[in-house]
């Protein structure tokens, strides 16, 4: 399916449009964090510790008196950047791997056994081990998550490649003597765009959750960087006195991940003819 037509059809679905709107708002807040934030996210104020939501502090303050709203807006920058880079990296690597495995029969079995082996580890456990090895930093969290999600993308892309490579037009361009690299790039890849698009949105969502989990365990982003995960991790012991310190960063994660999944699901519904028939 062509992209413009896909976009037009997506616009007809209210829930999909709503989640796209939510994502745009979050992205704009993140990009313009210094302007949208009402205070410096790292300004501490001992006298204003654990204050509830008010006109001055929209979402209250945390255990050091830092403004929660400003921290969530700034945290969005880090959380979204990590997730976006993870989605981008694992989709590029996974697509390359899946294309090669799906197109070249000889490489299929060995590559897929490696993918199977990588997927035998629970995601979070593998991510923890990788971050432990690479060292806790923003970039290393991204690297670890890319390694975790690449096999997943590779599997999906390989499955789709296996279908597309058998199509008549591929046989035709092959018979015309088109170079293999060109067949892959110009004829197979464009047909995989839709499943890849779905994977981008899902991995984006998973990465937001995974980064938060890693940071929560203290093996992800260094605690002094405000991400949605480090915010919950740092403040959780005050949850009984001031529920908002945990509630709001959590809601930010949930809204973002949910919107991404609705978007991905919407795209998949429109693209998967089998699903469309049954719906």
């Amino acid at each position: 399916m062509r992209l413009p037509r896909l976009l037009r059809q997506l616009m007809h679905r209210r829930i999909v449009m709503l989640s796209a709107f939510v994502l745009i708002v979050i992205a704009v807040l993140a990009l313009g964090a210094p302007w949208f934030a009402s205070a410096d996210p790292n300004d501490t104020a001992v006298l204003d510790r654990l204050k509830g939501p008010s006109a001055e502090h929209l979402l209250g303050t945390d255990e050091l008196g830092r403004d929660m709203y400003s921290r969530i807006v700034h945290g969005a920058r880090y959380s979204l950047t990590i997730a976006a880079l993870t989605a981008l990296g694992s989709v590029i690597a996974g697509t390359a791997l899946g294309l090669v495995a799906g197109f070249f029969r000889r490489l299929d079995a060995p590559l897929m056994r490696v993918v199977d082996a990588m997927m035998s580890f629970p995601d979070i456990l593998l991510a923890i081990a990788l971050v432990a090895i690479l060292g806790p930093s923003l970039l290393n969290v991204v690297l670890a998550l890319v390694l975790v999600y690449t096999p997943r993308v590779a599997r999906v892309v390989r499955a789709s490649t296996l279908v597309v490579r058998e199509l008549l037009f591929v046989e035709a361009v092959r018979a015309l003597g088109v170079r293999t690299s060109r067949i892959l790039w110009r004829h197979i890849l464009p047909n995989l765009l839709s499943p890849i698009l779905v994977q981008v949105s899902f991995i984006f969502a998973y990465a937001i959750l995974a980064e938060a989990g890693l940071s929560f365990l203290g093996v992800g982003v260094p605690p002094e960087i405000p991400t949605w995960g480090t915010m919950v991790a740092g403040s959780q012991q005050y949850a009984d006195k001031a529920f908002w310190v945990v509630l709001f960063p959590g809601l930010a994660i949930i809204f973002t991940a949910l919107s991404l999944q609705i978007l991905g699901d919407g795209v998949r519904d429109l693209l998967d003819p089998k699903l469309k028939k049954t719906l």
Partner: protein, 319 residues
């Protein structure tokens, strides 16, 4: 057509494939843990250690040999069931893992039971009333469940049911030597967290699997025989739809062994995930290595057993 030969050939190829994945898992685990830049020996011995001390301890643990040699040594021991000695816990890794196995296993089983109890009925209803409001509601709930971070849900449930209502302990796994009832009681909240969140996946799978089956000819035949709708759905369709659902349930159990790290940490459960996190923070390689290896091996074995089970129970699985 299907004499004994294809069965054996199938079994042999499946076992070969499984062993290859296992071998790759071993290589990955070994390379990962040895690629770490930190030096466990200097961490263990502290600042006071002389170069001689470090060299001696490295020799004791075989850390002075080239990597492929170390891998060979290690694999030989692993095959014999020896995962080495924990540097910090001062005991064999197998023993450390075994001590942590109970909470993790019970947690995984309870959580999957909860996930199945929620997910299968909701998924069936969703499929039967596809496109209606119930379906949209359950599909929405499933997506919501997949968007909630487990640590956050854990903290919320602790605040509600442990701190405010006092129905469950805030954290821990009962006193040492506590009766099994107390331990199971301590596992209820964490199991609820994992079960509810994972039910999202089960709802989706049940729905998709039921939709596949409901379009089959034998379901139409059952309907045209005049069977009641509940009999068609529950007896004819569900039985056949269960095959992929059971796979997901089995794999979910496998993934929760070692994958429930965050939940175990939130609830202070002395499980395998918890062991790995503390091992990571202390750079205790043998424990990280052993845990990753065992956890992945369990996954591979469960996956393999499910495949074999299909051959045994489903006459349609052609070899």
């Amino acid at each position: 057509m299907s004499g004994p030969t294809p069965v054996y050939r199938y079994l042999a190829s499946r076992i070969a494939g499984m062993l290859m994945v296992m071998a790759l898992v071993a290589v990955i685990v070994f390379v990962l843990t040895r690629a770490a830049s930190g030096d466990p020996v200097s961490v263990l011995l502290g600042d006071q250690a002389t170069a001689d001390d470090i060299a001696r301890v490295k020799k004791d643990y075989g850390l002075d040999k080239p990597l492929p040699v170390q891998f060979g040594y290690w694999l030989r021991e692993v095959v014999q069931g020896n995962l080495g000695q924990s540097i910090f816990l001062q005991r064999p890794v197998t023993q450390a893992l075994w001590e942590r196995a109970e909470p993790t296993t019970l947690l995984a089983l309870m959580a999957v039971a909860i996930a199945a109890a929620i997910g299968i009925p909701c998924g069936i209803v969703s499929a039967v009333y596809r496109g209606r409001w119930v379906d949209q509601l359950f599909t929405g709930i499933a997506m919501l469940g997949a968007s909630i971070p487990s640590f956050w849900f854990g903290i919320v449930l602790i605040q509600l049911f442990a701190v405010s209502l006092g129905w469950f302990p805030v954290s821990g796994y009962g006193a040492p030597g506590a009766p099994i009832t107390e331990r199971l009681h301590a596992l209820m909240l964490p199991a609820a967290v994992l079960g509810v969140l994972n039910s999202a996946l089960i709802i989706r799978f049940t729905r998709a699997s039921m939709l596949d089956v409901l379009g089959e000819d034998y379901v139409r035949t059952a309907r045209s025989k005049g069977l009641s709708e509940s009999s068609v759905v529950l007896k004819h369709a569900l039985r056949n739809a269960l095959v992929p659902i059971v796979t997901v349930l089995g794999l979910t159990v496998a993934l929760m062994i070692g994958g429930a790290v965050v939940t175990e940490t939130v609830f202070g459960l002395p499980g395998i995930g918890n062991l790995v996190v503390s091992a990571v923070l202390r750079r205790d390689y043998p424990v990280i290595q052993g845990a990753l290896l065992v956890v992945a091996a369990i996954y591979v074995l469960i996956n393999f057993s499910i495949d074999l089970l299909y051959v045994a129970v489903d006459p349609r699985v052609k070899l």
